[in-house]
Point group: none
Amino acid sequence: MTPTESSPMPEPMAAPPQFHVYDTTLRDGAQQEGLRLTVTDKLRIAALLDELGVGFIEGGWPGANPNDTAFFAAAARGELTLQHAELVAFGATRRVGGVAADDPLVAALRDSGAGTACLVAKSHVGHVERALRTTLAENLAMITDTVQHLRAEGMRVFLDCEHFFDGYREDPRYALEVVRTAAEAGAEVVVLCDTNGGMLPSWMGDVVSAAGAVGVDLGVHCHNDTGCAVANTLAAVEAGAMHVQGTVNGYGERTGNADLVSVVANVELKLGWPVLPPGALTEATRIAQAVAAITNVSGSARAPYVGTSSFAHKAGLHASAIRVDPNLYQHIDPARVGNDMRMLISDMAGRANIQIKGEELGFDLSDRELAARVTDQVKAREADGYSYEAADASFELLLRSELGQLEEYFSVLHWRVHSHSAAGAPSETEATVKLRARGDVQIFVGEGNGPVDALDHALRRALTPAFPAVDRYELTDYRVRILEGPVGEKGGHGTDAIVRVLIDTSDGTRTWTTVGVGSNIIEASWEALSDAYWYGLLHDVATPGPAGRPAGTDDDVLTVAASR
Amino acid sequence: MTPTESSPMPEPMAAPPQFHVYDTTLRDGAQQEGLRLTVTDKLRIAALLDELGVGFIEGGWPGANPNDTAFFAAAARGELTLQHAELVAFGATRRVGGVAADDPLVAALRDSGAGTACLVAKSHVGHVERALRTTLAENLAMITDTVQHLRAEGMRVFLDCEHFFDGYREDPRYALEVVRTAAEAGAEVVVLCDTNGGMLPSWMGDVVSAAGAVGVDLGVHCHNDTGCAVANTLAAVEAGAMHVQGTVNGYGERTGNADLVSVVANVELKLGWPVLPPGALTEATRIAQAVAAITNVSGSARAPYVGTSSFAHKAGLHASAIRVDPNLYQHIDPARVGNDMRMLISDMAGRANIQIKGEELGFDLSDRELAARVTDQVKAREADGYSYEAADASFELLLRSELGQLEEYFSVLHWRVHSHSAAGAPSETEATVKLRARGDVQIFVGEGNGPVDALDHALRRALTPAFPAVDRYELTDYRVRILEGPVGEKGGHGTDAIVRVLIDTSDGTRTWTTVGVGSNIIEASWEALSDAYWYGLLHDVATPGPAGRPAGTDDDVLTVAASR
């Protein structure tokens, strides 16, 4: 931490010898209202969590639902390769009155292919007697049997004590007995869960210390019902917990789980303990936003550290001081979490970002005037709802247009879509596309499941005579986001709202993303779709070096100006 | 607190003899990105804050901008009548080298009509020297002069020490000197501000205690940059602060201010100190949501205490236990903050969730076989991509269909959509809907910004002759999610993927949500759209008691079977 940063740091605590960063986005995070993850979503999120450098990824509850079972099967088949993280299967202790070795859900843990199991067990007398409806002794026997069985099968075992803090208030002796039983059976970490989220930070210390006296490594799992999930997690760490559970973007049931990125950023940047691989924290903002793109449940713009507003300044008072020294008005350098300071007068990234981005794509934007012109273009289009952060291909088309290095492989004369349904029958959709390519006018019709599919088929057929390469292009993802009106105004919120469409296209080797915006979802999709073909052709047909001369020489290949 | 509630409460602390709940939504909250308040907005929000029973409402900075000046003028003219709260004018200490009595901004405070002024002053050596560019002595003189002047004019004065915690780390002697200077000049409360929001709860206590040694009443003002604003505020209270500043919905610059409702609910329900008028806290959810409606910046669905998801349950494991005792899975009775427990319907849900949800809607699902049949229906449709978690209205239509209590107000004969664009021109879209309603066949065309807008216009026109009430229905939100193929399979990922559409509709009084699914986005939107009208008519035209007989008697009103 540089001396000008403004975070006071009293006597630093010593870091524990080992520290577990344990993510449960794929299991407890998926309890979030409105969030549903497919197997592919889970695989993509797991890869991002691994990039973030978490130690453990709780992938779900195999055997409890087909989706989670399929995720572990896919991971076991090699569809997930982890560099840092260990995959964990979540499950429960065996059934009341059963035997762990014969329990089908315990078998699902064993068969999951994960090296570590995290078992949930009751530790609250009222829950044992009234929800589980068994005896206190049987609950302990279930823990012993299940932990010992999985350990004997060669798995690492963690144990989540559900409702631990509430249980400790009701009957501290029994709650601690659960911790001791799990430890003696071979659980490596016993995790104290504030399942209902009712704790305050000042109440955590004594309870965690009491559990620590058992002599096992402790973890903590908090929910945000008092608005203190992050603080409660830190209080447990300060009282000796060495394992923190949480989720990206604080996803979770009710008020959510502890936001794992906030917890880890506080541990690294405030307590000064490096708990992620070196440099990993600087990817936190990108990763949190990428996870939100997959779940389609946005993180808060005001999320600590990684929110889009988290280092944005509006107050005039602040703005003038920031000119003197940015650190006077920010608690850390936002680059440490991969975020940026933003002044809200200029709503978007500055010239420096654009220059860096251009360099990434191989363009020289060191000319200040050129960089400023491109920045102005990007700002104007982002104000209209475009987003180039994910849409690299559309950004390159825009950049080449400004540089005069964009060729028009085809020009569209018109497109039409017709969709209809008679009562009871499935809908039918057809599209017509008329365009000129390599001098010839083509008109083709395509059918599809919906308007964009039909347009894709028609466009592909119309381009094929001139550019047979388009046959390899496949649309691999299609995402739609409804935008509201300009900030501060009451914009369209219903079916007349502005729509942003992102399309991913693959040629089998590489994938690119394009963006379209409009109040008509078909028109916005068409823009992203035609950009997708255009970008593909740019790299297939003519591949001029970014600074070199165009390779296309056909008379009908025109430099574009007005249409972009 | 009833004994079954799950919040542990260790040795209760004694409440201070007086406690200030101080709201700064109208001043610091208005620094939130995207939030802009008119004078009318401010008057309405102030009235709501007064209903919440806060002690102080910081209305803005008179003299610093015309909007805030106008707000104080309107309040002084009697456009704002406060029952509980005192209006506070925010301002700064006089200019460097000036005299408080002659300072125009100090005059604006005097002339504001507010009985209390809250002055911001620097307390951080680096900020005095580098941002304010004056001497440490002059900064103290500015405080003394301004506080004494306003006190002599008969105002109560509070003083905000900007960057106090960072300043204390840099030079504790000077930071405490500022507190002492303000107290000696007559400030009633000195507020310690974590302006950059970089503090952790465990760092608060020592600093607040050191300031407390000066012997003046202390307040605290926190920002959420570490995700600890609420916890930091509580830590200060536990160290002796008797005045808490915050904003409704946690509005504020960057990551926001401390959420005042969370702070107050924790103080009342967890620390056990009554700090609002009796019963006022039960209005908290309504008031927080009403403020969000005025600002047009939603609070988080996951906001502690007052969020729409804050007492929503999804896991089947939880749902069965909730039937035993709701307090097993909630940290307080949600009625204490005016919120409700909600069961979410999802593929993770079991029969228990469905039964509770049915009861919420007024249906008797105690028949196990019926409940099982509805559960199977929900699971089958969710497997196809439907999601009833948010779509209460579609869930009720499904439930009524299973119960034989669903009437068909209209039957659609066909719909058609046509969208086209010629190169360079904006797209045009028209839709045709042909339906039968109350025995008459109607066919109408509608134009729109896109296919759904056009269909909405055509459907509305076709229904109006039979049901003029539809004129009041407004589509207020439209959300699209691209789904992948069935669980575990590689489904369509591109434009042939399955699409889920959610539509919110309002009749001006209440809002309902419907869902549609399909590979054609137009068809999926159509399903959600026609469900939306259907549900509206169900409650407008015929309102049979849930268990009663249908009220509709037209011959052409048929019970629906196959179409659902």
